[in-house]
């Protein structure tokens, strides 16, 4: 396809389309990293909620068994 055209013109056209592609890939990479961070935050929050729930019934149970002294 590119045989019929001079090399320097092909180079500039190729460079232009490559610039677009590289910019797009870099931007998508940055977006991907952002979403990974958000995902990590959500996982941390889920762990915190789950450990909080486990602690809460244990504390309630301990409170109920504590002698009132009456």
């Amino acid at each position: 396809m590119f045989d019929a055209v001079p090399n320097d013109e092909t180079g500039y056209v190729f460079a232009a389309y490559m610039v677009f592609l590289v910019l797009l890939l870099v931007y998508l990479g940055i977006l991907g990293a952002k979403f990974q961070r958000i995902n990590r935050d959500i996982s941390e929050l889920t762990d915190e909620v789950e450990s909080g729930r486990k602690q809460a019934p244990a504390e309630t149970k301990a409170g109920a068994e504590e002698p009132t002294g009456v």
Binding site: M1, V13, A16, L23, L31, R37, D41, E44, L45
Partner: protein
């Protein structure tokens, strides 16, 4: 805007862009005047059109924010401008490569079209430090909206001024006295334009989804802290806390 339909939109974007570029390299005839280098036109011009419309859309969202005081419009305005600046970088680089191939120089300072786009681009580059400089979130959003409206109004004025300028070596291909683009070139151009517009919308939706989700995570963290569950420190990874407009409930 939400995350609904992002997958379908992404597929449509990729499809239209690939079809457009296949048409550019395998179907559309070679330009009689410019030859092979004219193929940059199908990338450069759609990018420029979408970037300029994006800047103006940012102004419209800024106006809607000032009218409603709804933070979502400020976030939209920020993301529209942010994406358009990135598209602007691509416009400048592809334009410089086309200029070098056509005129032998990467930049021609006495060409109004080039210089005017650079002015618009540099104007919008000041948007980030402008936002950074204001600590208070409400003031930041209001001032940024005023900036977006003013700069957005400057874009069409600038475009008209350039069209009225006399000395032009930058090619005019639409609505010329010679009749403009032939049918096949116009069709290919429109497909590429649709692809770029779809790409812009997809990236905007992805950015907004990210901001929305990180806002929800912050809200959830605060709610858990209030209930005494979880650690007090906010993780360093929380996205866009400093400059980007948050989408948290006020």
């Amino acid at each position: 805007m939400s995350g609904r339909g992002i997958k379908q939109l992404s597929i449509a974007t990729a499809l239209v862009l690939v079809v457009g570029f296949v048409l550019v390299f395998f179907w559309v005839p070679m330009d009689a005047d410019q030859g092979f280098k004219q193929k940059i036109f199908y990338l450069h011009v759609p990018l420029a059109i979408v970037a300029l419309i994006g800047f103006m859309a940012g102004g419209v969202e800024g106006y809607r924010h000032l009218r409603s005081n709804d933070r979502r419009h400020d976030a939209n305005s920020y993301v529209f401008i942010h994406l358009s600046i990135i598209f602007g970088v691509a416009v400048l680089i592809t334009g410089m490569l086309w200029a070098k191939a056509s005129w032998g120089h990467y930049w021609v300072w006495n060409e109004p079209t080039l210089v005017s786009f650079l002015i618009v681009f540099l104007l919008y580059c000041t948007y980030y430090p402008f936002r950074y400089a204001i600590e208070d979130r409400d003031r930041q959003a209001r001032y940024a909206s005023v900036f977006a409206i003013t700069a957005g109004a400057f874009v069409p004025l600038n475009f008209m001024a350039v069209r009225m300028a006399e000395s032009l070596i930058h090619p005019r291909v639409f609505a010329t006295s010679e009749g403009g683009l032939p049918g096949s070139m116009m069709f290919t151009f429109l497909v590429c334009l649709a692809g770029m517009a779809l790409l812009w919308v997809t990236l905007v939706k992805l950015e907004l989804l990210g901001k929305q989700t990180s806002g929800q995570v912050s809200r959830l963290r605060r709610a858990l802290e209030a209930e005494g569950i979880g650690a007090g420190d906010e993780p360093s990874g929380t996205v866009g806390r400093r400059i980007a407009p948050n989408l948290e409930a006020r």
